[in-house]
Amino acid sequence: MNDFLMISSFVLFFIGLLGTITQDNIIKTIISLTILELGIILFFLSSNFEIGQRLPIIGEGLSNPADPLPQAMMITTIIIGVSVTTIDIALLIIVNRKYNTYSWKELKELRKED
């Protein structure tokens, strides 16, 4: 199960990478970046994870808890991911106001004309 989650995280990461490289639409690039980030989050969460592990909360007899370190780190990663996505969207708003396009190719040509 652990290996399955790990491999899925790699697949997600490379789907995101492929999207960021190949997509012409800037919004799709931003979505791909988010997918890439989800792959990274899944990778960290599935590291040192096995089926049957319980919540990392000390109750009566904490037996076999999940590793809390990746979970704590991924909380901060999610917040940072939101900030990165919003900055991307803000930049996209600027580009769209100035050049009125959502396409990388058109943007390249319009910037050459300037």
């Binding site: 290996d3 490289i21 590291s47 990392p56 901060t76 917040i79 940072i80 939101v82």
Partner: protein, 223 residues
Amino acid sequence: MKNRIFGIVTFLLMVLVIGSFLIFSGDTSELVFRSYTEQPLEVTKIRNLVSSIYLDFRLFDTIFEALLLLVSIGAIFLFTTLTDHEKRVEIHTFEFEEPNTYNLPRIMMSVVYPLLFIFGIYMIINGADSPGGGFQGGAILASILMSRYIVEDNYEYSYQKPYNYEKAIYIFVILTSALYLAGVIPSEYLRLYILMMNILIALKVASGFSAIFIKFINGNKNE
């Protein structure tokens, strides 16, 4: 054609990475895992191990992450304001003149958003002993404003206010964590410190997300 080549190269890279992972991955070290799962109750007096990590063992992570959120919101405001004078295209403004079409989500959200508020508060207060904490509670509190916008979209929101709140709260976050790092807080008040930090982080995250949301929905209305 170009995209197909990129696709093949990415697929080969993926196969390479997964193959090397399957061949070379070994067992993870138990030492770090054990130190994080066995110490917390003696050191921080709270039961939630995740909270004890991000408010105690790795406190600097939290401080700088909160700073990053603050800086990114400042950057968004700066970007969207600076380019105001150099715009070439008319900004489209949408006028919603048919309020009746939004009645169903409006009524649903008016029922749900008081519950969201209670849920958020519960997550923050119980962050020490049950699943939850500052970040999660803050995200839920931020969703209150979004649902309120659906319920009542005529209301004038100012994005500068939550941004200013966030800056002020960040100073309190730094002060509280500095007190803790200096060792001033006695061990019997550690739970109070965790509660305080959870509330401050939640308010900070909530006001930060609200500022972003208001900025995006308002455009340049307030400038």
